[in-house]
C-alpha cells in the first residue's frame, strides 16, 4: 500500500510503484489535485490498483467522486474525514455510479445496496 501525505503526488511517476502498488492512501492532499487530468493519467498507469483511500482531501461533492470513473479496475473505495462522507447518500451514490466497486468504507456492497440504488 502506498501512502501519500501532502505535496508528494510526484511519487505517482515511479514506474516500480505503477507495476506493484494495489492500494493507495491519500491524506492531506486536495481531491481536486488528485483527480486533475495530469494525475489521473498517472493513476491509470497503476496496473494493479484496486483500492483507494481518501482522508482529509476537501472532498465535498459527489461530482468530485465521479471523476474516479476513469479507473475501471477499482474495486474498493474508502472516504473518511471528508465532508461528503457525512452525507446519507454517499454510499448510495458510489454504488450507483461505480458498479464495479464491491467494497465501500471497508464494508462490502450488498445486494440490498444495489436494490436500493435501482429503486
Amino acid at each position: 500500500m502506498l501512502f501519500i501525505y501532502g505535496n508528494a503526488l510526484e511519487v505517482l511517476n515511479n514506474p516500480d510503484f505503477q507495476k506493484t502498488v494495489e492500494q493507495i492512501c491519500f491524506q492531506y492532499v486536495r481531491f481536486d489535485n488528485i483527480v486533475h487530468a495530469s494525475n489521473l493519467v498517472k493513476l491509470k498507469k497503476f496496473q494493479k490498483l484496486k483500492r483507494l483511500v481518501f482522508l482529509d482531501n476537501f472532498l465535498h461533492s459527489f461530482i468530485q467522486i465521479s471523476k474516479l470513473e476513469s479507473l475501471p479496475y477499482l474495486s474498493s473505495l474508502a472516504v473518511e474525514n471528508n465532508t461528503v462522507a457525512n452525507t446519507i447518500l454517499c454510499r448510495t451514490f458510489i454504488v450507483y455510479r461505480f458498479p464495479n466497486i464491491t467494497e465501500i468504507n471497508a464494508k462490502a456492497v450488498s445486494e440490498s445496496d444495489k436494490h436500493k440504488v435501482r429503486t
Binding site: 501512502f3 501519500i4 501525505y5 505535496n7 508528494a8 506493484t20 486536495r30 486533475h36 476537501f58
Partner: protein
C-alpha cells in the same frame, strides 16, 4: 508508524542555500582585516571594499576632533581579531563532504529530505553515498512523525483558507493548482522492498 520505504523530496522554502553562505559577512578575508586593523570598513555592515575615505582621509578638513577620535577607537575595538574571525568562518562554513558522508552513513534515513521524489539510495549502498548527499550539507533531519505533524498543520491552514474562499462572495472562478498552503509532502510504501 508504518514500516516501509521512505520517499524524500523537494527542499523546503527558507532552507539556506550555498549562495547565501558565500554572501554572508563571515566570508570576509582575514588578510584584509590584517592589513587594515585600525581603519573603518567602508561600504556598509561588513560588506564591500574599504572606501577611499578610510584609506586616504581628506586632510583639507583639518585634524579630527577628540570626540571623533574617541568614537573611531570604539569602532575599531569592535572589529574582531583575525583569530576570532577564523573561528567564525569554521563555524559558518559547511562541513567537508567526508564529514557529511560519515554522518549519513551512521543514519541513512536522515539523508532523505522531507518532500519530493528521490529514493534514499544511501540505505541501499552505504559504502557509496550519492553525489547529491555529498554536495548538499543542508539536508534537514526530520522524522516522519514530525513531518506528518507539519503536513497536518499545513493542511489545517489550507482547510481554513479553502473554507473562507468558498464562503466568500468574491471568489475567483478558477483557482490556480499551485495555490496550496501544503508545501511539505511525504510518501511511504509498505509491504514491498524495492
Amino acid at each position: 508508524m508504518k514500516e516501509g520505504i521512505r520517499v524524500g523530496g523537494k527542499q523546503m522554502e527558507g532552507t539556506p542555500s550555498r549562495k547565501s553562505v558565500k554572501d554572508s559577512p563571515s566570508h570576509l578575508s582575514t588578510n584584509y582585516l590584517e592589513s587594515t586593523p585600525n581603519s573603518l570598513v567602508g561600504g556598509g555592515m561588513g560588506r564591500g571594499t574599504p572606501s577611499t575615505e578610510a584609506k586616504s582621509p581628506d586632510k583639507t578638513k583639518g585634524p579630527l576632533t577628540p570626540q571623533t577620535e574617541n568614537s573611531l577607537s570604539c569602532l575599531s575595538a569592535q572589529i574582531p581579531k583575525p583569530a576570532e574571525l577564523n573561528s567564525w568562518n569554521k563555524n559558518a562554513l559547511p562541513k567537508t563532504p567526508e564529514e557529511t558522508g560519515a554522518s549519513l552513513l551512521n543514519n541513512p534515513v536522515s539523508g532523505a529530505s522531507n518532500t519530493g521524489s528521490a529514493l534514499n539510495t544511501a540505505a541501499v549502498n552505504p559504502s557509496n553515498p550519492g553525489p547529491k548527499e555529498q554536495a548538499d550539507p543542508y539536508v534537514e533531519d526530520i522524522s516522519p512523525e514530525n513531518l506528518l505533524h507539519v503536513i497536518a498543520q499545513e493542511w489545517a491552514n489550507e482547510l481554513n483558507r479553502l473554507k473562507s474562499k468558498y464562503l466568500s462572495p468574491y471568489r475567483r472562478k478558477k483557482e490556480q493548482r499551485n495555490e496550496c498552503l501544503v508545501q511539505s509532502g511525504h510518501a511511504e510504501i509498505e509491504g514491498i522492498l524495492l
